[in-house]
């Protein structure tokens, strides 16, 4: 019985590791996100929280513009989503120098005063790299249609049923998209690192592997060697060890001259 347990133990451990890894695995990038990449974004007029009117293309000024949608009275995901973006930008840095952020309201009822109130809640009222804006109905339909962003008013309430979307726009086109809720912190940080001009040597896989060559910490931007690298060193070390063992000096090794004779 003990022998059987010993035999089964590695398999059970392996299975448990696999299940744990599967639970920890981040969701893969959705096809919807991939479809958005490269798509043209209409250059719509915006009314900003400071009362000025600008075009969307004016905001990026040659840099990337992160665009997201929200509405002031949202009792659901909007505010956590904005906070999530704000936290990631603060942690990774680069806001202003590498990108700017636009939070565009999709609620016709939102006013400039609502935008200012919202910006104040986050302490971003004076931040010139964060923009809160509203636009007219036609322009809103244009941009939400172009970005496949959906929203629908819930009956007679002032709430909307809607998705969450963050797109990185450069030169009028989507270069990256991130959909879903604030659970994908790692992916958001990677995206921000990319906007800072750094390609993160990290990639999503369907199931989290047990061993990786590299691990990327999106909070600090540090790339670390992971345990999988040992498997790349092991063959060379094994060959050296094998060579040493095979050629280990023997007491009765015949000398070259003697064997020749």
């Amino acid at each position: 019985m003990r022998r059987l347990t010993l035999l089964l133990l590695p398999a059970l451990l392996a299975q448990a590791t696999a299940l744990a890894a599967a639970e920890m695995a981040p969701p893969p990038a959705t096809r919807a996100e991939a479809r958005l990449e490269g798509r043209a974004v209409p250059d719509i007029p915006l009314r900003l929280a400071d009362g000025h009117e600008r075009m969307l293309s004016d905001l990026g000024q040659g840099r990337t513009l992160l665009v997201t949608f929200f509405y002031r009275r949202c009792a659901g995901v909007c505010l956590p989503f904005l906070e999530w973006i704000n936290n990631a930008a603060t942690e990774v840095g680069g806001l202003g120098s590498d990108y700017q952020i636009l939070a565009l309201s999709f609620d016709e009822a939102d006013t400039v005063a609502d935008l200012r109130a919202q910006a104040r809640v986050f302490g971003l009222l004076e931040n010139r790299n964060w923009h809160f804006a509203v636009t007219d109905q036609a322009a809103l339909a244009d941009i939400t249609g172009a970005l496949d962003f959906w929203y629908r008013r819930q009956g007679s309430s002032n709430q909307y049923d809607h998705g969450s979307l963050l797109v990185a726009v450069r030169d009028g086109r989507v270069i990256r998209a991130l959909s879903g809720g604030p659970g994908q912190t790692q992916r958001l940080r990677e995206l921000v690192w990319e906007l800072r001009g750094r390609v993160a040597s990290y990639y999503a896989v369907d199931k989290e592997p047990m061993l990786r060559c590299l691990d990327f910490d999106p909070r600090t931007g540090a790339l670390r060697l992971d345990w999988g690298m040992l498997l790349l060193v092991a063959p060379a070390l094994t060959s050296l060890a094998a060579a040493m063992a095979v050629f280990m000096p023997r007491r009765h090794r015949p000398s070259l001259l003697r064997s020749k004779s």
């Binding site: 696999a18 989290e208 047990m210 063959p235 060959s239 070259l256």
Partner: protein
């Protein structure tokens, strides 16, 4: 006349049977691309898999077989292990054929993770394919260890690696073949161990559901695949060091330069495979630069020293030109030409443009077909001729060498031209934008068939001697 009961005579029919079949598979692929057999497109990728794995495996075991044979001049490898290697290889080949012909397995000879789990082939064919590689890897690893053991029974490690030459001493005299074989076999262990790890990870995913890291798997795949091909070439070159002097009437001795050049191969060759991952943005940048440096450092010194050595050996010598010496000379030339193509491709700035084009098959076909295959065939002829002493038909021999050479370089030229004109590799049929690829493929197919004709002429000369040696 030598006794014909040597293990090498058992390996020859494996090459004589499999090589023409694999050539036909190559010609088949080019005929599909060339618009001759487009209706058989569905078989393109299974045949690409079999052709790739088959050729790599065939020439690796053939080179191992010839060095095992020439080592018997100095040391005593185990005949039992040699038999295990032979029959293990046969079993591995049968499993491979079953996975491809019955399961239409088509993950390519790289079988890059996770493709083996994602294809349209049945899961059992993937299992059989991986089992085939496991059997082959295991028996070759045991064979490699035994050959090293045999060398170790006579030479110390520093002697076998020629370090006393580097230190300025000329005694004891160690044949250059021993030096090259020792270095290649030590590195071969690393390559085969990486294959073992790779297979273990595949099986863990298959049976325990443990996911793998694609980057790790790709690194392991090329650690094994690239290195094993590289080493097969070096083992073939060791045979040239050993037998070319017989035809030149001069010795080809080891010395300090030879020892330094070949010691550059030791371990450095293990890092050269990084050049296969230039296109992988997730591979750390420093490894990419190491890959380029190692590609140059492991190949350039040994190639230059060998080629100069061979030229000096032949220059003004009373050469006895027959099929063996002609193929040896052409084989070294093919190694150099293919090597230049490989070095061009291993340069990062060039690789980003050429990597996914037919330039890549161009260079590896050059040093495998016109390099390693010629060296092995030369050795086979040398052994068969020595065993039988039959009178040589020089006209037939030269016709064979010439036909194979023209056929081979025709195949390469079509690949190189197609690569230079951006024809991508691994396309079964070319779309309208790549229509020029069709012509290159068609002419490539004709050249492959010309090569096959030359090989049949070779069989007329060498196969006849092999039969006489075995039957007589």
């Amino acid at each position: 006349m030598q006794a014909a009961n040597r293990q090498i005579f058992h390996w020859m029919p494996v090459v004589f049977v499999l090589f023409p079949i694999l050539i036909l598979l190559g010609a088949f692929m080019r005929s599909v691309q060339g618009g001759v057999l487009p209706e058989l497109e569905g078989w393109f990728y299974p045949m690409m898999t079999l052709h790739g794995v088959g050729m790599v495996g065939l020439w690796y075991v053939a080179s191992m077989a010839i060095v095992a044979d020439l080592l018997t001049r100095y040391v005593r490898p185990s005949p039992v292990v040699a038999n295990v290697a032979l029959w293990g290889t046969v079993i591995g080949v049968v499993l491979l054929l079953a996975s491809v012909f019955l399961g239409r397995y088509a993950a390519g000879w790289y079988f890059l993770y996770p493709l083996p789990f994602k294809g349209e082939w049945p899961a059992w064919s993937n299992l059989v394919f991986l089992l085939s590689l496991t059997v082959l890897g295991a028996v070759w690893l045991v064979w490699t260890l035994d050959l090293l053991r045999a060398i170790g029974s006579r030479y110390t490690l520093p002697q076998a690696l020629g370090w006393h030459y580097i230190a300025g001493r000329s005694e004891p005299a160690v044949p250059p073949a021993i030096l090259i074989i020792t270095i290649s076999l030590i590195c071969g262990i690393a390559a085969l161990v990486s294959a073992v790890i790779l297979m273990a990870l595949f099986f863990l995913e298959m049976f325990a559901g443990i996911a793998n890291d694609p980057l790790l798997m790709k690194n392991l795949t090329f650690f094994f695949g690239h290195t094993i091909i590289n080493l097969a070439m070096y083992l073939g070159v060791a045979a040239a060091y050993e037998i070319l002097p017989h035809y030149a009437g001069r010795p080809w001795k080891a010395n300090r330069v030879v020892a330094i050049a070949w010691n550059c191969v030791l371990l450095i060759v293990l890092f050269a495979y990084f050049h296969h991952l230039y296109m992988d943005f997730v591979q750390p940048g420093p490894l990419q630069y190491i890959g380029q440096i190692a590609s140059y450092a492991s190949a350039v010194p040994s190639t230059i020293v060998t080629l100069f050595g061979a030229l000096l050996l032949v220059f003004h010598a009373r050469m006895r030109w027959n099929l063996t010496s002609i193929l040896l000379f052409l084989g070294l030339a093919g190694w150099a030409i293919g090597g230049i193509g490989a070095m061009i491709d291993s340069t990062i700035n060039v690789n980003v443009r050429l990597h996914n084009t037919l330039w890549v098959p161009a260079h590896f076909h050059t040093y495998n077909l016109a390099g390693l295959a010629f060296l092995v065939l030369a050795y086979f002829h040398h052994v068969c001729q020595n065993a039988t002493g039959l009178p040589e038909n020089h006209l037939l021999q030269r016709a064979s060498a010439l036909t194979m050479t023209f056929g081979a370089y025709g195949v390469f030229l079509m690949f190189y031209l197609a690569g230079a004109y951006s024809v991508p590799r691994r396309f079964a049929l070319y779309p309208a934008e790549l229509a020029h690829g069709t012509s290159y493929a068609f002419w490539g197919m004709l050249c492959a068939l010309l090569f096959l004709l030359g090989f049949l002429l070779y069989l007329g000369e060498t196969g006849r001697r092999w039969w006489r040696a075995v039957a007589g």
